[in-house]
Amino acid sequence: MKTFKLDTTPKIESGFKTPENYFDTFSAKVMQQIPNQEPKIISLFSKNKSWIYAAAAVLVLALTLPIAYNN
């Protein structure tokens, strides 16, 4: 019975194979599961309306002051 010796036998590969293009599409698959870091966009419809009121107040003043002045 021939004794099997690992170090004198040519390297035995695992034999595992992947589907074609598997790695090409793999990273996209994972990135889809990762939250996207987007820069914050300040919406006009944001809940915090205080800046709109401030802007409106300035506009009203700008429009009414010259009238008040002329009177």
């Binding site: 790695f23 990273s27 990135m31």
Partner: protein, 180 residues
């Protein structure tokens, strides 16, 4: 080391995080695939575990303290995910993980993503005789060709103990293949 420190900063900075993480993915996807596959054997299971591993890496980036290399930290997560996976799969099927492994090896012959022949299957059967840790050490050294120092960082076992483990694994495998 400096390069790694800078890369870790990129991974932790929300502005550069996603780009850096893609770089990490591309660097580690193949070696981690091979690592996980030697544990779970089947391609589809490997695909699942590999995705879960990377998602886990991303979610735990802020917990990476940098006291080990990024490489060993990621490999440790992959190893744990793979081992947990097979244990859970075995539990769900009401069998031991040894029986599950044996079935997975039997399925290799018909697996389209396995192009090995008799000797590859015999080797897998021989490895399956070993205790779990010894199997890991053997696979990481023989199939993945990792250095003992790298295996030591991943498994948290001394290089001396790893060399002894590998030596015993080889002897048992040789005996199994000779007599089967």
């Amino acid at each position: 080391m400096q390069e790694e420190k800078e890369f870790i900063q990129e991974l932790l900075n929300p502005k550069t995080q996603n780009l850096a993480f893609e770089k990490l993915l591309k660097k580690f996807q193949k070696p981690l695939y091979n690592h996980i596959r030697t544990i779970v054997l089947n391609h589809y299971d490997t695909d699942d575990v590999l995705q879960n591993t990377f998602v886990k890496v991303f979610r735990n980036l802020d917990k990476f303290k940098g006291d080990s290399k990024l490489f060993s930290w990621i490999y440790r997560i992959a190893t744990n995910e793979a081992l947990t996976f097979i244990n859970q799969k075995a539990k769900k099927s009401g069998i031991t993980s040894e029986t599950l492994q044996s079935k997975a090896i039997d399925n290799l012959k018909a697996d389209i993503y396995f192009d090995g022949n008799e000797i590859q299957i015999k080797l897998q059967k021989a490895i399956a005789q070993l205790p779990e840790k010894q199997q890991l050490v053997f696979k990481m050294k023989y199939f993945e060709e990792l250095k003992y120092e790298e295996i030591s960082e991943i498994l948290g076992t001394s290089v001396g103990a790893l060399k002894a483990s590998y030596h015993y694994a080889v002897k048992k495998i040789e005996a199994f293949v000779t007599t089967n």
